[in-house]
């Protein structure tokens, strides 16, 4: 008996336990299993990319452009090349020009192919001008200084609005950039232009009792993973290029780089070791291409590591957007029509431009029931550092605007913000009207919603935060501090569990003599705990402990394909592959045990390292292993499986915030955060809580302190960790988190995602709480003291 690939009926049985256990009876899934890799990390063992450097390694450095927009008229590297210890200097003249996208995504690539390894034009302050490989980092830095460049300056476009002006300079005027027809319009500086509609908007707005409009702005922000981008490349003894990199997408890196480097995929191996944080910034080819080029030219191993300044100016960031909502509401408080018009910039290069903004639409418009929807997006090029994937992938932007907008409508209607949402949020059975149109660059799969715990999350959350205090005018005043006001705010949230019909992952599982198992998958743990979660899924099926599963992951030679760590897909998709593989292995184990015990396989279950029959007899897994490997009918108990789901199983959540606002200074302090998540069955509650904790603190920064600030000529003004403020341990609010497990039939053991949804809610909840505290509604984040102060002054 085996699972056929991609049978929709089988997809809906993913939640079932092969031995029929109920969630409460499960032994490993749902338990706080300590991370399998934690010991080596607390001991400081070598585990990250830069912890192993081969002897003779060269150090690579990049010369970054000081100008936001310029052509390289002349570049002279002779002095740099002549410096002792310099082994290679590359300029655009040394590169075979192949336009690619640095965005790590599946085929066909939905991002424009607009990037060269080295180009004769620079398009943002920080863009690549040249690259050096030298014996030491110091020599490499000295070589950079010796490179002489003559630029022809071009007028830069820094503000989003300037990109579409008729006389705006064209940032991608090269003849060989390509993208999706109709979507990619470089001569208008449009990296992505798209719209989709469902139902009948005219009718929808006509039905409305009132129509509400609002425009909201979100900033360009940074991942600030503590480990910078870092990469090591070398040619092995078979002349294959090996890339060891802190990457979230090893398989995409291999496939995308092959034509760029002009070597076939099969001559490239990509290995991902431990990653010190990624958050989407490493779903990207940031330095692997240039590092590999230097290895190919010098025949030596090359190491490249970004400085923190380079992280700020030459890595990736979250797309800033201007979002315009127009919503029609009927007399009974239900939504009759909704339009989201989105204007964003992707910076100088278009990676993720279609898909991030598309995801803004497919999340923001999917939370509330509405048959009449319109979504339109324009993503322009500007001469800013490029934006890309960042945790949430369009949802933090969209849910910020949506949840402030919904709150505004509730206030206008005189309704409680929770009640207005309750009237409108999606229910089991609902189909998202734009599901087909918004499929991440291709046709999507409209499947009905099968599980939601949003109502329970909200009920529990309102209780925990003390939502009724909103109605008490006395509570809003703080005794002893007459200038301070308190407020409560909330945001309802939806996200995704992978992208239906696109995301796929595979798993190999084999059994060893001692009844330990080797589990290999392409899925990419970037500190998310994926390795442990996937081992738990396997162990649950196999009746063993998670520690008996030895994980090896994310090596393009040794593990099967996985699209990588993004779209909150690892538990839902890669976990499905692991579960299927484990179930196959369980069947093989039972077959062997059946012969040993002389009892039919249907009477057997796996438990506690044993195979147990209904009549009480048992053999240990170890005995089965030895029997199968050595004694009779010898074979390797093993399985190879993959999983892709067409099902729609979004997680839901609710975020509550309690704030204090100093009305004289505009300072906003968050006192409490309450987060309730429906992630289906939590595979590891510690892991889910960890994702919530980190996501909330990232969203705190989004709402209050983080913003990339640019000069008029495109220089980043706050490109360091003192001037770009990430929240620290001594300024965190008190938090509570809880899980409402509304299990989905299509998730492994009922699991849905948890990784990104926690970044979506704090920012809108804070804005809504500021409103509750002061009567002032900002439509822009971060809500800096000056912005709040200005708004308060304006209100009078």
């Amino acid at each position: 008996m085996s699972h056929p690939y991609n049978d929709p009926d089988q997809m809906l049985k993913m939640s079932e336990h092969p031995d029929g256990l109920s969630p409460e009876e499960m032994r490993v899934v749902g338990k706080r299993v300590p991370r399998l890799d934690a010991m080596k990390l607390v001991l400081g063992k070598p585990a990250y990319t830069d912890d192993f450097t081969p002897p003779g390694v060269l150090h690579g450095k990049i010369l970054h452009s000081p100008h936001a927009h310029a052509r390289i008229k002349r570049i002279d590297v002779s002095k740099a090349r002549a410096l002792p210890g310099v082994r290679a200097v590359l300029t655009w003249q040394d590169i075979t020009p192949v336009r690619f996208t640095t965005a790590g995504q599946s085929h066909p690539l939905p991002s424009p192919l607009d990037t060269l390894v080295l180009d004769s034009k620079v398009r943002f302050v920080g863009d690549r001008v040249a690259a050096v490989a030298a014996d030491t980092p110091e020599i490499a830095e000295q070589a950079l200084v010796l490179i002489e460049v003559e630029y022809e300056l071009l007028p830069p476009i820094i503000e989003i609005e300037d990109a579409l002006k008729p006389d705006a300079p064209i940032i991608h005027d090269e003849k060989d950039c390509t993208g999706f027809k109709g979507v990619f319009q470089p001569r208008r500086n449009l990296a992505a232009h798209f719209s989709a509609e469902a139902g009948d908007l005219e009718k929808g707005y006509a039905e409305a009792y009132r129509v509400f409009e609002g425009e909201y702005r979100v900033p360009q922000v940074q991942h600030v993973a503590l480990e910078p981008h870092v990469c090591l490349t070398w040619l092995d003894e078979d002349n294959r290029l090996v890339i060891r990199s802190s990457t979230q997408v090893p398989f995409h890196v291999r496939r995308i780089l092959a034509p760029v480097l002009n070597i076939p995929d099969k001559r490239i191996r990509v290995i991902k070791p431990r990653i010190g944080g990624g958050f989407g910034g490493k779903q990207e080819i940031v330095i692997e291409d240039i590092c590999a080029y230097l290895t190919l030219i010098t025949n030596r191993p090359v190491r490249m590591e970004y400085s923190r300044e380079e992280e700020f100016i030459a890595a990736r960031s979250r797309h800033p957007q201007i979002l315009h909502f127009k919503t029609g509401v009927r007399r009974d408080g239900t939504i009759s029509a909704m339009t989201l018009s989105l204007f964003a910039t992707t910076g100088a290069y278009g990676g993720h431009s279609l898909t991030v903004q598309g995801n803004t639409g497919s999340k923001a418009l999917a939370l509330y029931r509405c048959p009449n929807l319109r979504f339109e997006m324009d993503v322009v090029y500007t001469n800013r550092p490029p934006a890309g994937a960042m945790r949430g992938y369009g949802a933090p932007q969209g849910l910020f605007a949506l949840e402030v907008h919904m709150d505004e409508i509730a206030a206008e209607l005189g309704m409680d913000p929770v009640e207005f949402r309750r009237k409108n949020w999606v229910q089991v059975g609902d189909v998202f009207a734009l599901a087909e149109a918004l499929g991440e660059g291709r046709k999507g799969f409209p499947n009905p919603l099968r599980s939601t715990g949003l109502a329970e999350c909200v009920a529990e959350g309102t209780r925990r935060i003390g939502w009724e205090r909103r109605c008490d005018p006395n509570w809003h005043i703080v005794p002893g501090k007459p200038h301070v006001r308190r407020g409560l705010g909330m945001a309802a949230l939806i996200h995704g569990s992978g992208i239906p019909g696109i995301d796929m992952g595979g798993a190999y599982l084999k059994m060893n003599d001692d009844a330990s198992f080797n589990l290999m998958f392409g899925a990419t743990d970037l500190g998310t705990g994926a390795d442990t979660v996937l081992a738990q899924i396997a162990a649950e099926v196999l009746g063993c402990r998670a520690e008996d599963v030895i994980v090896y992951a994310a090596d393009t030679d040794l593990t099967p394909f996985d699209k990588g760590a993004y779209a909150s897909s690892t538990t839902f998709v890669s976990g499905g592959a692991v579960k299927k593989a484990a179930e196959k292995v369980a069947v093989m184990i039972k077959n062997v045990a059946s012969r040993m015990l002389e009892t039919p396989p249907e009477t057997l279950r796996l438990e506690d390292g044993c195979v147990i029959s209904t009549n009480g007899e048992s053999v240990t897994l170890r005995e089965v292993a030895l029997e199968s490997l050595h004694v009779v009918d010898q074979h390797q108990i093993q399985a190879a499986e993959s999983h892709m789901s067409l099902m729609y199983a979004p997680p839901f959540a609710v975020q509550f915030a309690e704030v204090e606002v100093d009305t004289q200074t505009g300072e906003v302090r968050v006192k409490r955060l309450v987060f309730g998540i429906d992630c289906g069955q939590p595979i590891n509650p510690d892991g889910v809580e960890g994702q919530i904790d980190g996501g909330m603190s990232m969203s705190l920064g989004y709402g209050l302190s983080e913003e990339m600030l640019f000069s008029e000529d495109g220089r980043l003004l706050n490109g360091n960790l003192r001037d770009y403020h990430v929240f620290r341990s001594d300024e965190m609010p008190a938090i509570e988190r809880f899980i409402v497990p509304a299990r989905d039939p299509s998730g492994p053991f009922g699991a849905k995602a948890a990784a990104e949804i926690p970044t979506d809610g704090v920012a809108p909840a804070i804005i809504n709480a500021i409103y509750d505290a002061t009567g002032v509604r900002l439509r822009q984040i971060p809500a800096t003291p000056e912005r709040v102060w200005s708004a308060l002054k304006e209100k009078g």
């Binding site: 934690a38 010991m39 944080g277 400085s307 960890g690 360091n720 960790l721 620290r728 341990s729």
Partner: protein, 152 residues
């Protein structure tokens, strides 16, 4: 120049460049538990103990550390005998990507060595020199307090 560094109780004669930071020297010597996250002492993942006090190794020159006792994460525990803080971090689920974990543990060790029963505010103040983007600091603080309150 040649200097004497005392690392985890071991004396090592090391050739360093004048401008080489302690972070660069330590990683070069194999102490890769000391991490690089920035170059100006603003992220904290390079934390080591200098005479028992937590400092940023990226803004201390190796020559300035001569003669002082340097403690890195490698010096406080092993697989066979992990430091109670290391065990507490693992048990509490306080390790995600792990990149800032050695810095947090060393910071906590310095705190507990001097103040075995800190308040939560004192723990948070001590940790404010380490940036973390994964945990929001919640479980690390819990791991430290659990140990401090459990009388470890």
């Amino acid at each position: 120049m040649d200097i004497l560094l005392i690392i985890n109780g071991e004396e090592r004669q090391v050739a360093v460049q004048v401008g080489e930071t302690l972070l660069e020297a330590l990683r070069r010597l194999g102490y890769v538990g000391v991490k690089h996250g920035c170059e100006d002492g603003s992220c904290g993942v390079c934390a080591v103990l200098l005479d028992g006090q937590v400092i940023h190794a990226c803004i201390l020159l190796a020559v300035q550390a001569e003669g002082h006792a340097i403690t890195t994460i490698e010096g406080i525990g092993t697989y066979d005998q992990p430091h109670p803080l290391q065990t507490s971090f693992v048990k509490t689920g306080a390790v995600q990507c792990g990149y800032c974990t050695p810095a947090m543990i060393l910071t906590a060790k310095a705190l507990l060595d001097e103040n075995p029963h800190p308040t939560e505010a004192e723990v948070r103040e001590a940790l404010s020199g380490v940036l973390c983007r994964c945990t929001g600091y919640f479980k690390p603080v819990e791991a430290i307090l659990r140990l401090a309150q459990g009388g470890g």
